[in-house]
């Protein structure tokens, strides 16, 4: 779940990091045009992050079921806004997809951010955030089907959080 350290990359000061997630039977999987690697999107000075993520997901993948910003952190010489995008299984098509496994969270110090945050920890927190929304947000609760909510029940609910 990593990007190539070499090659052309997004370098804007604010970036969106999209995790496109779908339910494959009894487990959740990570997919998208970049496969299991974070899908990085440039956010311009006048861009609304949610609008950009929603538009680009619709253009590239198809209509998402849910788009939620789940955390932010400082990384890659930028501020990274992480998004969980829930899609229907019918949109996965030929995109690479990998099962999501549980991960330890990157915990902050009392007054300082974690020194290193793995992508898997960002996904873990994102799903904990979705678990919180599934209980707190009527639209999320209505949109996610029961199998989705059963899978999220295994995650400790957490609100939006600064990861670093």
């Amino acid at each position: 779940m990593s990007r190539s350290p070499t090659g052309w990359d997004v370098t804007s000061p604010v970036q969106a990091e999209i995790f496109t997630i779908w339910r494959s039977g009894d487990h959740l999987e990570l997919t998208g045009p970049c496969g299991a690697a974070p899908w990085i999107v440039e956010l311009g000075a006048t861009d609304h992050p949610v609008e950009v993520v929603d538009r680009i997901v619709r253009d590239v993948v198809g209509d998402p079921l849910l788009v939620h910003s789940t955390s932010w952190r400082r990384d890659r010489d930028a501020v990274i806004l992480s998004f969980v995008v829930v899609i229907d299984s019918g949109l996965v098509g030929e995109m690479p997809s990998v099962p999501i496994t549980r991960s330890e969270l990157a915990r902050s110090e009392a007054t300082a951010a974690p020194s290193d945050i793995a992508t898997s920890a960002v996904v873990e927190h994102g799903l904990r955030h979705m678990a919180w929304l599934a209980k707190d947000d009527p639209i999320v609760a209505e949109t996610l089907d029961d199998p989705w909510k059963m899978l999220l029940a295994a995650y400790v609910p957490e609100p939006f959080r600064a990861l670093g």
């Binding site: 052309w8 045009p33 990085i40 253009d59």
Partner: protein
């Protein structure tokens, strides 16, 4: 840079393309705009390229077939 020189380009997300510079500018700008909400300039594309072979060879023709072959 000569027009017939074949170059390759790789995005950090894994997308790759090979071809003439003008073809790669188009491919990179389409990939950047569509996938990453960014449009690299000609200069930015040039800065990312590596030469891989002369034009007109079998390798060249095969590489051209690969331009923007990957959706991401």
């Amino acid at each position: 840079m000569t027009d017939d020189q074949i170059r390759s380009l790789r995005c950090a997300c894994g997308w790759e393309a090979s071809g003439r510079f003008e073809e790669l500018v188009i491919a990179a700008q389409e990939h950047g705009r569509r996938i990453h909400n960014m449009t690299p300039t000609n200069e930015e594309v040039e800065a990312m390229l590596l030469p891989i072979g002369p034009a007109g060879t079998a390798d060249h023709r095969a590489q051209l077939d690969d331009v923007d072959a990957r959706p991401a």
